[in-house]
Each structure stands twice: as C-alpha cells, then as structure tokens.
C-alpha cells in the first residue's frame, strides 16, 4: 500500500517525467541490435518509469494508467514471442535462434538476421519490463 508523495514538487515532476522515461526505454530497446543498449537495459528503464509513477502519484492514479495486469501479460507475451521466434527456424531445419532459416520470406539471410535480432530484443524488453513490474507490484503488497 503506497499513497501519493506528500510533496507537490515531487508529484508534478514525477508525473511529468514518466512519458520521457518510457520513450527513452523504447529508444534503448530499438537501438539494441546496432548500438549500445538492448532489451534488458530498455526493459529496466521502462519498469523504472512505471515504478516512478507508482511511488509519486499514488495508487489509484497509477493503477488506473498501468493496471496490475500489465506486468504478467507483458512478461508472458515477451517470453512466448521470444521462444516462438527461437523455435521458428527449426521448421526448415535451422538451429535454435538461427534467424536466417526463418521460413516464409524471400529476404536475404543478413537482412533476416538483422530483423530477427530486432524482434528478439523487443521480446526480451517486454519480458524484462513485465517481470520487473510484477516483482515491484508484489513487493509493495499488490496481488492479482
């Protein structure tokens, strides 16, 4: 059970910062396949944004914007997307996570690997975001 922060400065600045933190998290995830960053770091930054909302503006408002179900759903979607992407190349005889063997496209293998890593980073980012948000909500005593 957490109430809103009692200082109006922290409340206003916190709720103003959250969209920027979330956009920065998405930016880090989208950069993961050709620069510094990636799914793990980006997922943590997304969770930090939502956790900042939880501890500054209080329970009612933050659970209205990001319901309790967001954590488990994002984690499960991310994990299943990652496993499905890993198993997909097995259909045509490739190895696990061998994106060049993904069936159903006529793209060249290097391009396919590039896109495969991007999709994997997004899936990892969703899974990390969901798992950490679920851990945070459990720690503050909220259960599904």
């Amino acid at each position: 059970m957490i109430g809103h922060h009692d200082s109006v400065v922290v409340r206003v600045i916190g709720s103003l910062f959250v969209p920027f933190v979330l956009v920065f998290g998405i930016y880090v995830i989208a950069h993961g396949h050709y620069g510094p960053g990636g799914g793990f770091a980006g997922g943590v930054i997304l969770t930090v944004g939502v956790a900042l909302l939880r501890i500054t503006v209080g329970e009612e408002e933050s659970y209205r914007r990001f319901p309790l179900l967001v954590g488990p759903v994002a984690m499960l979607v991310g994990m299943f997307a990652f496993v499905a992407l890993g198993l997909l190349p097995l259909v045509t005889g490739g190895a696990f996570l061998d994106y060049a063997a993904v069936p159903g496209t006529d793209l060249e293998p290097s391009r396919l690997r590039y896109l495969g890593i991007l999709v994997a980073e997004v899936a990892i980012g969703l899974a990390v975001f969901g798992a950490l948000l679920w851990i945070f909500d459990s720690l503050v005593g909220r259960r599904l």
Binding site: H5, S7, V9, V10, I13, G14, F17, F20
Partner: protein
Amino acid sequence: MSTAVAAGLLVVGTAFLTVSAIGSIRLPDFFTRAHAVAKSETLGLFLVVLGLAVHHGLAAATPRLLFIAFFALIANATAMHAVARAAMRSGHRPLSETPP
C-alpha cells in the same frame, strides 16, 4: 574558437564537480552535504554537458546532450528535495539546531 569555449566549459564544470565531491566528504551533517551535492554538482554536470555540445557543434549528438542537461537540471533538484524532505521527516535535524 569553439574548441577553446568547449575546453573552458569543461574545465569550469570539472572544477565544480570536484568542489562538490570534496564537499560531500568534508561537510559536517546531512543537510550541508545535500546542499553541496544538489547545487554545485548540478551546475558542474550542466557545464560539462554544455561543453561537449559546443565541442560537437551541429551534430546528431548535440540535441541528446542538451536533453541530458535539461533533464539533469530538473531531476537532480527534485531528487535532492525528496531525499532532504525524507531525512527531515525521519528525525534528522541540521547541526545548527542540535545542542552541542
């Protein structure tokens, strides 16, 4: 010219950061240390990032550096406000108010 300006900003910013680091070790109680960290560190970081932005000129990195400077300017002050408020509420008192 822009290199000289950038170097000057970097040197002044680093000096502020050094003073802030010394202050956070040497000052006597929590609130004076918070003062040292919140003020001179924010200014030092702002000057260092501004120096880097001047050094890069009109490059792709410059808007990102200015964003960092802008958000650090707001977030540092707000975080220190929250920490100092929490310290006051949990019973810390400034050294000048406590009897010797």
